[in-house]
Symmetry: C3
Subunit: 273 residues, 3 copies
């Protein structure tokens, strides 16, 4: 992975403006649509089983985020995931709170059995659960708490690799440092800011950015690392102007919108391991 290769992904998103279909939770629907737009892609939200397959067919990537699961959203996710696999567009999974309740765990298990995911993005406790190391997450923003912080860097990278191997996918464990694994490959991203833990849905937004980048890229490992670096740099730039989590969120969209290749080149801390 050449530096220039992933620097080009952002540019490609902006040029091609891919349509990204999101089935996501009600808490973050607005902000994940906005971060998608800010990075230059076009979001569409559709969840009804009656229409998701048709919408997927027009999109270039699909996000499945299980944050506020329900019986109807389960059905919509399964339909959309299968349709996306059939169309050959990448599907990105955000298994919010997997392991916290049987309902979420069964939903994720079913999705993983029925749908081939290009990328799974989660925090350390959720990803640890998928890797077969059951730990209870705490809240929807568990980046900021619980296992997320407790896990050592070694554990986090090991968890990412285990999930990548187990599901034949790209696995991104995000937190203070992000680890991105694909079978046989590993990268680390050291960008971001602590204020990301004080705003709800910042993990879900990372997933949305990954989907936007992966929609235009040939290599989901590269696009996921590129997305997390770009998102992390935008967060750093936003934090410089923020007085707290409320203004930080507003500036995050501003920074993503005007992020330049030079800013990325200068600030991105992406390491192949």
């Amino acid at each position: 992975m050449e530096l220039e290769e992933w620097l080009l992904v952002l540019e490609k998103v902006r040029r091609e403006r891919p349509l990204i279909h999101h089935i996501t939770n009600t808490v973050v629907a607005n902000i994940t649509a906005n971060i998608t737009l800010a990075f230059g892609a076009a979001p569409v939200m559709a969840k009804a089983p009656e229409e998701v397959a048709e919408m997927v067919a027009q999109a270039r990537a699909l996000v499945l985020n299980i944050g506020t699961p329900s019986a109807p959203s389960r059905e919509g996710m399964l339909c959309a995931g299968r349709a996306a696999n059939k169309c050959g567009i990448p599907v990105v999974l955000d298994p919010v709170g997997v392991g916290a309740t049987r309902f979420r765990t069964e939903l994720v298990t079913e999705l993983l059995a029925e749908v081939q995911f290009a990328v799974i993005r989660a925090n350390a406790s959720e990803m640890g659960y998928l890797a077969g190391r059951a730990v209870r997450p705490k809240g929807v923003d568990s980046e900021a708490s619980g296992f997320g912080q407790a896990a050592s860097e070694e554990q986090r990278s090991e968890i990412a690799r285990a999930v990548a191997r187990r599901f034949g996918t790209v696995a991104a464990v995000t937190g203070q440092r992000d680890f991105i694994a694909a079978p046989g490959r590993l990268a680390r991203v050291d960008n971001g800011n602590e204020l990301l833990t004080a705003v709800t849905g910042t993990g879900c937004m990372a997933t949305a950015v990954i989907a936007a980048f992966t929609a235009v890229a040939r290599d989901a490992f590269v696009s996921t690392a590129a997305a997390l670096a770009a998102y992390g740099v935008a967060a750093e730039l936003a934090a410089e102007r923020a007085g707290g989590p409320g203004t930080f969120q507003a500036h995050l969209f501003d920074a993503a919108y005007s992020l330049t290749a030079d800013q990325l080149r200068e600030r991105a801390r992406l390491t192949l391991l």
Copy 2:
């Protein structure tokens, strides 16, 4: 339509503080409630078939926005729309993504058959579909993409007039320039800012403002044009203070909240055609 006539609508909204009932999509529920408040009206969100008719009876306008359609929301919209017609309050339709899936198209067709709308607000591709010129929209913010930009001004005004005629309603095609048509009447609004295309739900917010203005006005053609001019001027004022889409959204509510008759008189670019 005298200039002073539509200038007075904003004042009337603030004085009468009409209750506006919204049945809308989960992506924009928060921001459409906030833009309703910012312009001086009072929003209420209620979607359950069990209660919508009773809520409509207390409101002075109803918004039906099909952005994230589902079987239960379909039923709620039909109940509410019929009740609003019975009460004689104006109903405003936002046919988000009509033509993109059969489910949305059938829902809009059913709504148009069962409910008399005072106003329909959409972008060029959605309105083109309603006018019988099928084009596929791209994403929920298709103002910024696809047919929306491709359509010439002439096409856009023609589409507005065709929908106005076909459904006996006011039809507003929004985009870089807005065209407002009623049977035999046509107006153009040249206000707004490009940042509106970088924030999700700015079209849905325009629809909410139209509903607030139409609730207090005698003439839906006048109130729709007045709403789009006021909203566009607020967007221009917000853009002057914004560093990107995140701060733009915050300033948009500020600008709407403190918009004065003088600012409107000075900046509104409303032309009768």
Copy 3:
């Protein structure tokens, strides 16, 4: 209630970072999660009947907000409320729009019959309805309208006391001045800012803050008063930096996040009556 006693509650929230389970309306899900985080607690949103009992068992407080009621959310609320009572964690009710429709009224009646609430937070018209003084609320933000403003201070405190007595709970009537009652006890909080009436969901956010504070406190009367004072002071600090409701909302999260004991001690206007 010593001044220092309630000053300590905020500190305790930040130290213990309690998990707060919210079942709330789609309009405010994002901002109530964010205000929970800003004050130092951890939000989790889960609504499906299939999982709420299991989620409640991991939480330290539960919020039931009926803002956009539906048949499935009714079931989830009942399950979660009963489970919370069984676990012995406090449940906080926000009866948005009770009295406005039969559906809401029946839902609230059922919840009050089946669940023991630690705190009920509402505006004067909603609380008046619960006290047996039926008045129709106007919109979801009726703080800014209708009975909310019309009720005299004496009426408001009387209503709070009536609900506290009737349901054996802490009852908080919020508005320009907040009245907090428990059987035999009454307090008043004079903090806040008019901009709270120009943003949707500011009442719902107050409820969320009460839940976060009550999760860590022994005395729900103290924690409710402390929460409303802290929230009101944050609103005052935010208003000093705001240019209107949009920037006010962003600054509200900033102010809550960085609120110090000194700021609270200096500005809180909490009176035992």
